[in-house]
Symmetry: C2
DNA sequence: TGGGATTGTTGTCAGCTGACAACAATCGAA
DNA sequence: TTCGATTGTTGTCAGCTGACAACAATCCCA
C-alpha cells in the first residue's frame, strides 16, 4: 500500500481504526496516539458495539448535507494554475446536470466568515453546481488550516493525476501560505528531497511561463530542473518569454509547449541529434563485437552474445594503458 | 489528459457531451457517433435548455438509489485475487459505519436473475454495507457485458492502484470470460503489446503462486516476466511451491514474498552481489579517469570531468584492436 | 492458394519517480 | 562558541511503464 493510500485512509478512518505504521502517521489529523497499537480483535468488537447506534444516525442521513454554492469559498491554497473553463469543465457540468453529483465535496466552516464555508477539495464541482443553479452535496468537517491543506493534497493529487509542475506549484503555494515544509511533504506524500526539488523548480521558473506551458503531463523532474537552471541566464529567459508570446504557441498541446520553451531557452547546438544513438562495433575481421552508445562523457558497451563474456572485463583492465596512450597522443 | 481519464469522463458524460478525440473513443459505450463533432456552443446551449427540467428531477434525488446488498452479486469478472478480510477492509467498514457511504457503487440489473443486480465496481463497499446491515447507495445503469467490464477496469485500476500482477490477472479473467482482446485493452487503457505481456505472465505463473505472493506493488513487468520464464523449469517450479508453503512466508510483505519466490526459482548464483556495482578506473599515475559498471555483457563508463572528453571516442575507436588482442590471448 | 490486413508477441528504449546517500545550512542547547 | 540534531539541497540509481518497432501468426477475401 502506498504512502498516499495509507494517509488517505487514515484521514477518513475513525480514530478507533487500526492505525497505520508510525512513519505513515499524518501529523495534525485525528489518529491513534503515537506508538499505541490496538489489536484487531478489540477494534472489531468496538465496531460491533457501535453498529446499532450508528444505524439510526445513518438512517437520518446525517453524513452528507446540501449546501448553497454561493456560501462556499475555495481553499486558501490553490492547486491549479488558474480556473480554466475548458472542455473538461463543460463535461463535468453536463455530467452533474444529467446524473446528479455523485461524489460529495469536503468543506469546513469558514474560519473568519460566519455562515460560510471553505472547500478542501471538490471546488470545480462547487463551481459547476453554482453555474447550474444547484445545491452541492458536501461533507462538512472541522479542519485546521494544516488538515485542510493535507486533505486537499491527498485527495486532489491522485484524482487529478497532477503533473510534476502542478505539484511543484501547489507545494510552493502551501509554503507561501505560511505552512511548514513538513505540511508540504504530508500533503503530497513525498520526502524532503522531493519537496525541495519541487519548490526549487516552482521558484526558479517564472509563473507566467509555467502558466503558459500548463500541465505538461509527460514532463518530469529532470526536464523541469533543466529548464529551471536555464532561467538564470537572462538571454535564455528573454527568448522563452518571446516564444510563449508568439502566435501559435497556445495552440500546441502542453507537452509540446514545454518543448518549445525549452528549445528557446537553449542555444542552438552544433551537436547533431540525427546521428544514430547506438552504433555497432565491428572487429577488423568484420565480426560484430558490440553495440556502443557515446553520449557526452558516458560510453556504454553491450558485448555481442557471440563474444566471450569476459571481453568487457578485459576492456576494463586495459583502460589505464589506453589512457596513457591517449595522453601521449595529446602531447604530440 | 491521460487515456484513462478521458475514457472515465466519456463513460459518465451524457451522449450530448463534448466528444473526446477519435482515438480516445471507447467502443461499445454511449458516445457521440463516430466522427461527428458538435460545436461547444451548441452543446452549451443544449445544457442551458435542459437545466430547468433537470433541476426538478435532481430535487427528487433520482440519481442515487439505495439497494439491499443481499440483492447484489459481484461482477462476473473478478479483479482481485480473492476477497480479503484484512485491515483495510475493516477500516472501510468503520469509515462507512461512522461517516456513511460517501461514494456510490455502480450496478446494472442482473441479466439473468430478475430483481437482482450485478456490480461493475464498488463491491467491497457492497460487502461492507451488508456486514453492517445497511443499504448501499448505488447508481444503476443499463450496461452490456463489455460495458460493465470496461467500467470496472476504468474505475478500479486507478482507484485501487492495481499492481502489474493484479492487472495481469484481471486481463486474463476478462479474456477467460469470453471477451475479445480489445476489451482487455479498453478496460485497462493499454496497447496490444502490453495486453499480450500481462496475459502471458498471468498464464505462465500458477495462480496459487500468484495468490501466495499477492499484490507485489513495487514489482513490475520485467521481474514478473523473469519469474514467468523460470516457471517452465519444473525444478524451479517445485522450489517455488516449497518456498511459498514454508512457515513464515506469509508473514513477509508482498514485495518480499515475490523476492523469496524469485530467489527460490533461480539456482544459487556464485556471482557475488556484494561486489561494488560502480568501480573507479585509475590510471597508472594514480589519476582517477572514469567510473565503470560491468554487469553481464554491459560495460558502462562515465569519463571523469577532468579528463579530455574525447577519451570516450578514443576508447571506442580502439575497440577493434582490443578485440584482436583479446582473441589472440584466448588462443594462447 | 496467395496476399494483404489485422492481431499477437517480443524486444528495446526514453523518461519517469521513489528512494536513499552525502553534504550543506541552520538551529538550539550546553 | 561549539557541537549535535534537524532540515534543506543535490546527486545518483534502480526499476517502473508508456510507447513504438519489428517480426510472427492468423484470418479473410479475391
Amino acid at each position: 500500500m502506498s504512502k498516499r493510500t495509507d494517509t488517505i485512509k487514515s484521514l477518513f478512518a475513525s480514530p478507533q481504526s487500526v492505525p497505520l505504521s508510525a512513519d505513515n502517521a499524518v501529523r495534525g489529523l485525528p489518529r491513534v496516539s503515537s506508538g499505541s497499537v490496538r489489536s484487531l480483535r478489540d477494534s472489531f468488537s468496538d465496531v460491533e458495539k457501535e453498529n446499532e447506534e450508528l444505524k439510526e444516525r445513518l438512517a437520518a442521513g446525517a453524513a452528507i448535507v446540501e449546501v448553497d454554492p454561493a456560501l462556499i469559498e475555495p481553499s486558501p491554497v490553490s492547486d491549479r494554475f488558474r480556473d480554466e473553463v475548458d472542455g473538461s469543465f463543460e463535461q463535468l457540468k453536463q455530467s452533474i446536470a444529467h446524473r446528479g453529483q455523485e461524489v460529495p465535496v469536503l468543506l469546513r466552516m469558514h474560519p473568519d466568515a460566519s455562515g460560510r464555508y471553505q472547500s478542501a477539495y471538490g471546488h470545480r464541482r462547487v463551481r459547476a453546481a453554482r453555474e447550474l443553479g444547484l445545491k452541492v452535496k458536501a461533507i462538512v468537517r472541522p479542519l485546521s488550516d494544516e488538515e485542510l491543506v493535507v486533505a486537499q493534497g491527498l485527495e486532489n493529487a491522485p484524482r487529478e493525476d497532477l503533473s510534476f509542475i502542478e505539484r511543484a506549484v501547489f507545494a510552493m503555494n502551501i509554503e507561501d501560505a505560511g505552512h511548514a515544509r513538513t505540511v508540504v511533504q504530508d500533503a503530497l506524500s513525498i520526502d524532503r528531497a522531493e519537496a525541495s526539488k519541487l519548490i526549487a523548480v516552482a521558484r526558479a521558473v517564472p509563473s507566467d511561463i509555467v502558466g503558459a506551458i500548463g500541465k505538461a503531463a509527460k514532463i518530469g523532474r529532470g526536464r523541469w530542473q533543466a529548464l529551471a537552471d536555464l532561467m538564470a541566464d537572462s538571454g535564455a529567459l528573454k527568448r522563452v518569454e518571446e516564444a510563449i508570446a508568439a502566435p501559435g504557441f497556445g495552440e500546441r498541446d502542453s507537452d509540446a509547449r514545454f518543448l518549445v520553451a525549452h528549445s528557446a531557452a537553449t542555444k542552438p547546438s552544433v551537436k547533431s541529434t540525427s546521428e544514430p544513438r547506438v552504433k555497432p562495433v565491428v572487429a577488423a575481421s568484420g565480426e560484430k563485437i558490440a553495440r556502443a552508445q557515446l553520449v557526452d562523457r558516458d560510453l556504454k558497451l553491450t558485448i555481442d552474445k557471440k563474444v566471450a563474456p569476459d571481453f568487457g572485463q578485459f576492456v576494463l583492465e586495459k583502460l589505464p594503458e589506453l589512457y596513457d596512450l591517449f595522453r601521449s597522443k595529446e602531447r604530440q
